[in-house]
Symmetry: C2
Subunit: 300 residues, 2 copies
């Protein structure tokens, strides 16, 4: 058994399978989640379930976070009873959540005086990537701490890249997601226009997928559109949050980002229509509702 | 030698190599171009060069067009001395140019009373695809004429798909190109934001290219951005035209297309800054000029 004691906070759709992959690799993992069902499944998989984040921090040399928002990360790291109060000097926090560069930079600055190193290491690849351990992991922060954690991150991800200083993992992930979101919007708009013009949506896919328009997003979107499969995977809520973070970053940097701003509004429109919990390809229903056309399948 | 006599009008960047591939396959090809240099290269490759479009029409069972705009196609097909005046009944015109569904539908309607069949068959894959005969060809129009032409189209393209009735090839190509254009815009904006945020552009590519953000457009764009290689391939001028055609189609169909409209404006902005003749990744210079950052290479 590898001799580094690990902690895991947040055992949900992403955190659950990542923690299980670390257990399978032989690590002793101490975990906590506010949801008792998740915590029970973690224990059943061989993890040591404890009743608080503080106990995870006290028992671990490296603590992984997989949490829903930057606010929750701030709370867990520097809030009352947070990790900085209980972890010893020399220990490492690896935040696998998608937040903002500023959250990572603030957390790293708050950890440093206590001798704790905070790495941002958001992941891309979705629930299936977490289950299959094929995630792409983009890390920011201290290079020596990254080198120490890289073999462990390589257990849960296929690509593990150090992007630069604190926050640079988050910056890379947000840019990844804004490109993904723009891809979803372009593919949905294109297919709505195609069907409105009289094209068959499956034939169009066959004709263009191997050419310059081809993309991973197209391969993930079109089969789902044709089956009207809008079950998560990644949701409109999550994409709206991430593209919003990218927009905040651009505003902070005074960089005009017209594509990002428009795509954010489109995802917000889908969210306003009650589609937040559905998978990203549900964006197609915007165009469908505007014009009464339907792209594939039976009516959603 | 295959016994169908072919004609070719427009022997430029795309038409030149397509005509040469037909000659190499053993077809007798009669060709014309207003540019004497192109016509000379066609003759040197084994084509029969003639001094007018009408002579091509008179000598050929199937005439291929590879022309710069829909207006030129209209002129060559139905204008004074155009093909409809000289071609015999039973013959076929195959328009490989990218125009608009309406151009194809009008041309097909003008050809029909004379017993001439007009197919729209725009190609995707660029100059290199034309040279390598790896183009994707999206055809619209009469199914029997398509079946007759498909073996010949398969000489110049790798994927040859019948999309539906007249104009549906053009509709498919325009949707292909609007997705490509949106991809260029998102990748350029994303990389500009990345560099402004402090990321290394080559490391970002390495980290995200294998994940959900991955696309053919990214693979075509990033290496060129890093080398600041803005030599055509496909130009900003061509993309502005094609996305404009897609926008016209959506307006005719009363379908709101916010992504297409924004991307058209971005390409028009690049064109207004004198970048029309350069390759599409030159779009990055919009963001560079707004903020004084530079993505890769030495100053353009």
């Amino acid at each position: 058994m590898p001799d580094t004691s690990l902690g895991f906070l947040g055992l949900g759709v992403m955190g659950g399978p990542m923690a299980r992959n670390l257990i399978k690799a032989g690590y002793a993992v101490t975990g906590f989640d506010t949801d008792r069902g998740r915590l029970g499944r973690f224990a059943a998989a061989g993890g040591k379930a404890v009743p608080s984040a503080a106990e995870v921090g006290g028992a671990s040399e490296i603590v992984f976070l997989s949490l829903p928002t930057g606010d929750v990360v701030r709370q867990v790291v520097t809030g009352e009873g947070g990790l900085t109060a209980v972890m010893r000097s020399g220990l490492v926090i690896v935040d696998l959540s998608t937040t903002e560069a500023k959250v990572a930079q603030d957390a790293a600055a708050a950890c440093a005086p206590r001798g704790i190193t905070f790495l941002d290491a958001p992941v891309s690849g979705g629930e299936q990537g977490a289950i299959d351990a094929t995630l792409s992991i983009m890390a920011g922060g201290d290079a020596a701490a990254f080198a120490r954690c890289k073999p462990i991150l390589s257990v849960i991800g296929r690509s593990v890249v150090h992007m630069g200083g604190s926050g640079m993992g988050q910056a890379a992930k947000l840019i990844n997601n804004l490109i993904v979101a723009a891809g979803f919007a372009a593919v949905c708009e294109g297919w709505a226009l195609a069907v409105k013009a009289g094209l068959d949506p499956a034939t169009l896919h066959e004709a263009i997928k191997g050419g310059w328009a081809g993309s991973r997003v197209m391969e993930e979107t079109i089969p789902r559109l044709l089956k009207r499969d809008f079950v998560p995977g990644g949701t409109v809520d999550i994409m709206t949050k991430d593209v919003g973070y990218a927009l905040n970053m651009a505003r902070t940097l005074d960089l005009p980002v017209p594509v990002t701003a428009l795509v954010h509004e489109l995802f917000r429109m889908a969210k306003a229509q009650g589609k937040g919990p559905k998978a990203q390809p549900v964006l197609i229903t915007l165009w469908e509702e505007w014009t009464g056309i339907q792209v594939g399948g039976s009516k959603a």
